[in-house]
């Protein structure tokens, strides 16, 4: 350092960095200024300014929409064989905007499976799974499986013919696993046949088990993308 160097630049004092408003108040209480600053100053690399890098984010938006509309549908849905179909019919025909909420849920569900898959293709073909990001790829694989699990369990809930037979075939496939097959089949169905127990189990998986797992995995997924940053260009 030369002797002619001017005075050191003034570091912003804590007082200067205090932000106004409610969010600023919370940030100040938690001492998160630096963390927030770091988040605000992330630079998206130029090569990532491409729509194919949006697939994961769109899948997340769809997940949030699915969670919101799913919570709303659960208000009117009744998971018993006697009432399930009628309650779905009720949502679609009598509940105000029920058809709208249900349609959004249904189309977002299909869209999420599609977008998660496209996201996987993007990651694969840009080599974004390579060291040090292997763990994120692994969580991603589980997220894909859970997304499909959501689709499979959600499909049974309207309790119509299509739902019944799709679940019959799906659980039969699980039953064909060597050794474990029969255990998997009766665990999924709650018995040898598809019954009220199956509907209860699928509903539980769809609204309690899978959401809990997917939220944990998503947090890990996002923590790692923040930790690693967006992968380099090809």
């Amino acid at each position: 350092m030369s002797a002619n160097a001017g005075p050191l630049p003034q570091l912003p004092s804590d007082a200067k960095r205090r932000k106004p408003g409610l969010i600023g108040w919370v940030v100040n209480r938690l001492g998160m200024d630096d963390t927030m600053e770091d988040q605000y100053n992330r630079v998206v690399p130029a090569h990532a300014s491409n729509y194919i890098y949006c697939f994961g984010g769109i899948a997340l938006v769809l997940f949030v929409i699915l969670a919101a509309t799913g919570i709303m549908l659960a208000i009117y849905y009744q998971p018993t064989p006697d009432t399930a179909y009628q309650s779905v019919l009720n949502i679609s025909t009598h509940v105000q905007f029920g058809w709208w909420i249900r349609s959004i849920h249904r189309w977002s569900a299909g869209g999420m499976v599609l977008l998660v898959f496209l996201h996987m293709l993007r990651v694969f073909f840009t080599g974004a799974y390579k060291k040090p990001r292997e763990l994120n790829w692994v969580t991603g694989v589980f997220l894909l499986l859970i997304t499909m699990g959501f689709g499979f369990t959600g499909y049974l809930l309207p309790w119509d013919q299509k739902a019944y037979w799709a679940t019959k075939v799906g659980t039969d496939i699980a039953g064909s696993v060597p050794g474990l097959g029969h255990f998997l089949l009766i665990s999924l169905r709650g018995g040898e046949q598809i019954s009220a127990a199956t509907l209860g189990r699928f509903f539980d998986l769809h609204v309690l088990v899978l959401p809990a797992i997917i939220v944990i995995l998503l947090l890990g997924h996002f923590f790692m993308i923040r930790r690693h940053g967006i992968s380099g260009r090809l």
């Binding site: 709303m72 208000i75 009598h94 509940v95 105000q96 905007f97 709208w100 909420i101």
Partner: protein, 154 residues
């Protein structure tokens, strides 16, 4: 007004509209739906006897369900138009009923004249009072209707 305040207003208006567009349907959704007008099984007045041409079948709606009035000289019979085969809505074809789904046909007495249906169309309890046709609950005692068919009326 500067360009920047104008843009802030514009963004604000768009934002409020978007948020309202989400909140409004959600609030409507949360409100319990009104009871369906004319709960199933309730007695309804479907109109004056004279409004149903003598000797003909006329389509009506009973508590939201499709039905047909058969007026024979002021003596009225009310048939359900839900097919006993697989639950499609049967159409009126002259003086008979014909199902568009699988071709079942019924005479104007409700009896099957052509399969695949095997059970006759059921009738509603009905009577005429002061010249008006009053229709009550469905009468499913005429044949051994399967559970799903009974479910159509509950």
């Amino acid at each position: 007004m500067t360009r920047s305040t104008f843009l802030k207003w514009l963004i604000g208006i768009f934002g409020v509209t978007a948020v309202a567009g989400v909140i409004y349907p959600v609030l409507r959704f949360l409100k319990p739906p009104p009871a369906v007008s004319g709960a199933i099984g309730q007695v309804v007045n479907v109109g004056a006897v004279t409004s149903f041409p003598d000797g003909q079948l006329t389509a009506v709606t009973v508590n939201g369900q499709p039905a047909a009035i058969h007026n024979v000289g002021g003596k009225v019979t009310v048939y359900s138009l839900i097919c006993t085969h697989l639950g499609c809505v049967v159409g009126i074809a002259g003086d008979a009923f014909k199902c568009p789904c699988h071709g079942s046909q019924f005479a104007d007495t409700g009896a099957v004249t052509h399969g695949p249906a095997t059970l006759p169309l059921p009738t509603y309890h009905s009577q005429t009072q002061n010249g008006a046709v009053l229709v009550g609950p469905i009468d499913l005692s005429g044949a051994a209707y399967p559970a799903w068919y009974k479910g159509e009326f509950s």
